[in-house]
Symmetry: D2
Subunit: 357 residues, 4 copies
């Protein structure tokens, strides 16, 4: 009898409908279908592996996910320590702050009359609206907070931790910033200047000369030292952008100073960009291996999907399949509230890279 | 006190994580977030409305969905009459037949060595493999069946019904073709010449001169008559392609002959193409209104997502939220096994359009 | 001195601005940059190679290219025999016929009010408008022509040749259909049932029972025999869809009957779809090699771009760089006006595949 | 006689092939076709309008355009003042510096074996390679330069001007950084921390404690003051990302302090992202109007295309059609070499916003 090709090993199992399935059960079945459905199933599996291993889990977050209704999903991941360190765009933190302060974003239409919206001072993000007036009030609120700080540079990580604390004191409301401050999860925001958080900082400086200094080069040093101190890492990327690259850069930079660093051991990216235009947001995880950003034997998967579809399902599934794993996992112990961040009891510098031999 | 803008009515409700949620509960919460997550939630809602109304529900199916593991989801929709009429590419029917005949598609890699696959005669569809030899055997099987038919033109609808019956007799296995034949759901395949079903037909003709005639112009007449007879319609499109347009064309063509036809009352499309390159697959449902394909007051939604992610979740949700609706709905009664299709007890022509006043 | 890596061979040469450059000179410089710019430059080079070799050049055409202003570019390619055989969607032929008959498509807006357009009976294709009334008149015109034909099945190739002749006699205007009829370039339209050409055919049948039979299975046999007779082939694909697959299918089908057939020797595809959703339109040329659609050593390139950008530049460039090549090339001599198409003086069947040893 | 619809005004003019056409002639003809071809033609027209008006022209640049062979095109735009102010990602400036220092990027393959590349320490950007060793040498070179600066914060604009000067002194080679320093065109890099320029800065600090401070909040104040001083602006965006938003933010921030600011008067964006996932990179220019980023009567166009295709053609065309316009245009006179940037002879602050009445 004829030998089967070595390429034909595991059959596709057509997805069968069962109305009572829960999210994790759906994703487990999707591992055996094709295309991006399979990728989403594999993402669930790879994240579980991260939780069962001793790795520091970075999450990068770009795109209008907070305005778009995913901020409490990210807060959940922080509180239950499915992730250890968040790298975000400023906009996601700003829209989180907006809602934590009791305001809202609103259901809108992608085919709106933008001139009419402009007349009413309504800002549109695709199918979502917000009040510009309320946004201006946030800017003032951030600016006022900025004037209470010392006249010295703050890393974005230190600043955002203080901002989260201040927000918690004032609101006692859950959200990304408040959850991170309370859970000791550091947040980096390398492109903070390109956001309304940055605008608030600039208004603080306008009020009080010499204030509003963010030391984003310190963030580079600190994030690399974090990896040097804990060289086994994993990355979960939502939407590409500066967070995706910043996480990879921390690994590459750390590798210059420590031979123990060998690229992320696990990687999940949920992106809508494509590789063939050469931009970093859409670049493949394979490409990341050429740079040493990702270990060549890493467990990794790219899901080409909108995070507003993929994340609610993926995190609902994880919450059911992996809560025990998340509770007992070996996770780093951070104190991001100090000028020098403390990792597992010892401070790291934002001035000099830690050299190891 | 200041009046709120009329644009700020319904707040976004951030998705909160609950591990025990079932698919319909997840999608109901997603209606209150943004972007494509919201769209998927709305698709669930619009489909429910279709089931509660007295409309003929067309489904269009393009892309490698059968090879990719969704054939039993479509079979479920047919069996439980969440849809009334399927328009498909030939490939989806062929890959369905392949598995119904007991063969498989296999998990593969999108970064395969295609020269090595070619040596082993393995055909690749992105991350999915199949045996070319088994495919050739299907072609022979189809060709042999074709030679048993009369020497006259068959609409694709009649041919596919007979093919499904033959397949059921031989295999007693569930699948799209067999479910449709058994449930009396007609399948149209306007581009059957561009598929391996077409190749099988051509091999039948090679074996027996004069066989293998498919009357795809008859399909146009018949599908328009179907709409003329039941002018209230809905459309669910997976992936664009010829099925999307053929369904719309039936409505446009019917409108020439019957003033009762006014475009689809409901429309859901799950597509990955975009509108700005002008192709029909990515065209918006708004654009369809200019043509009269869609009623200008239709309940409609486009979901920009891979069907291998969207469909398993959407149909799992529907199966739980709407099985009662599906059971008691007013649905058309078809007999697609005759040369002239019978609709609600009366035959329609594939030669002349039915004129009404 | 240290050895350079084998991977670093040919440097990128930054594109330098020269206002006097012509299209071919621009594309030649673009071969030395990156991403899709390079791909477009390579497409120009690969097409030149086709013209210099003894191959039958197929072109596939999907997407609204005729409505969108590219019909005279395609007519130019036909007239000057940069291509030998066209496979098209019906819509592209229909919109060509519309303009050849002296009507127009119009500049419009992608953000139009579609309800207002519907009231005026204006059909929209993204940013382009047309009069529905004029379209209906075309349908009648096609239907009337159909009633003049014999009551027998016509391959789409034979029918379209006759339609082009009729159109030329009536209008004496250049276009795709008229150019192809005059130049002896066959046009196949496997999905003719999914287009307004198909609607015209159905209206012909409505007028005269028994007319309007298109034998699209005959097209499969004939296109495969074309490849069997001339086994060295090349393919240029615009926009994917049924034409892309039909051209590949001809090659795969031919291979069953002739060992001389080994897949396309050259391939250029200009597409906007992506591979990762599994659809055939976006599938890679590498994947095509696993199926034997494309020779594993083929010169091939995929350009991810809208054809309305890529094609005007590419064909303007070719017209300057390669007109001598196009004039003196070894090209097939077709007579597509007969019931049995004549290739290099001998007829081929649309009933049985030609078997060779 | 029947009245034509008001929607049918200007017919599409099918593109006709003329081998001798130059780039501007091609683009002028493309204004009369459809889809993205038309958009590219309109982009040429809108840019011409900018040059003929008295506006400050911002350009944003994201994606791997410098590595990909477009750095000399951007340098040309700077030297000939088709633009007045550049906002860039750090990577584009870094890859520019790499080549200005005499190194290269190399033609590579998108289907490379990344593990093999990693072994050779070759970094891949889609189809383009570079030597990691040479990159490390750049980092050292930047770090050494950083240690020569004063121990105070520098805006990214001041730092990049000094870096460009230093690079010119050492190399006398053209490029983006050197052209900008010589032409007095300011460059902002709000996300400098997320790039190898940032890594070089961090290595400077590692060498000399207290160095490497970039005041990106100062960039916000300064860029807004630039708009307040010259409230009529235009924007050209390549690829979205932080530059796109930073340019819009400058306008929004300026509006808080000056009623003369009313959003960009002209806007061209060449992007590959799409709007429907909610991210800022793909957001429409219409949406920008709701925020006041763009005047509601602005002349604007979005081109959905890879910049490596669109930019060489567009700038070649502009260089021919508009060099006289560019020479005689009213353009701002900047001195970006001072700690406080000088605009038309007067310094602006990076500490406080300029308030006007």
């Amino acid at each position: 009898m004829k030998k089967r090709s070595r390429f034909l090993q595991v059959p596709i199992e057509p997805f069968t409908v069962d109305p009572e399935l829960k999210a994790d059960e759906i994703l487990e079945k999707m591992e055996r279908i094709s295309f991006q459905g399979r990728s989403l199933g594999v993402a669930h599996r790879v994240w579980q592996k991260m939780l069962g291993d001793d790795v520091t889990i970075f999450m990068g977050m770009a795109g209008a996910l907070s305005a778009g209704g995913l901020r409490m999903v990210v807060a959940y991941l922080i509180e239950h320590r499915y992730i250890d360190c968040l790298v975000s765009t400023g906009a996601n933190l700003y829209h989180d702050l907006h809602e934590t302060r009791g305001r809202h974003h609103y259901l809108g239409s992608a085919r709106a009359n933008d001139a009419a919206l402009a007349e009413d001072r309504i800002d549109r993000v695709y199918d979502t609206y917000a009040s510009e007036e309320e946004f201006c009030d946030n800017d003032v609120w951030i600016g006022d907070f900025v004037t209470t700080l010392e006249e010295r540079p703050y890393t974005s990580r230190e600043f955002l931790n203080l901002l989260g604390n201040h927000l918690w004191k004032e609101t006692r409301q859950e959200g990304i910033l408040t959850a991170a401050s309370r859970a000791g999860v550091p947040i980096f925001c390398p492109a903070i200047a390109d956001s309304s958080i940055g605008m608030g900082l600039s208004q603080g400086r306008h009020k009080k000369r010499g204030s509003g200094h963010i030391d984003i080069i310190g963030d580079i040093v600190e994030s690399a030292n974090l990896v040097i101190r804990r060289p086994r890492t994993a990355t979960i990327v939502l939407g590409g952008g500066t967070p995706k690259n910043f996480i990879n850069q921390a690994s590459v930079q750390a590798e210059f100073f420590s031979s123990a660093v060998g690229g992320h051991k696990y990687a999940v990216q949920i992106v809508t960009d494509v590789p063939h235009f050469g931009g970093a947001s859409g670049s493949t995880l394979e490409e990341a291996q050429s740079w040493g950003k990702l270990a060549t034997d890493a467990a990794q998967v790219t899901v080409h999907a909108d995070a507003t579809i993929a994340l609610p399902i993926l995190v609902t599934a994880l919450a059911r399949s992996s809560s025990a794993l998340a509770k007992k996992r070996s996770r780093p112990d951070f104190d991001p509230s100090r000028r020098e961040m403390v990792i597992d009891g010892a401070a790291i510098s934002c001035e000099t890279f830690e050299e190891t031999e």
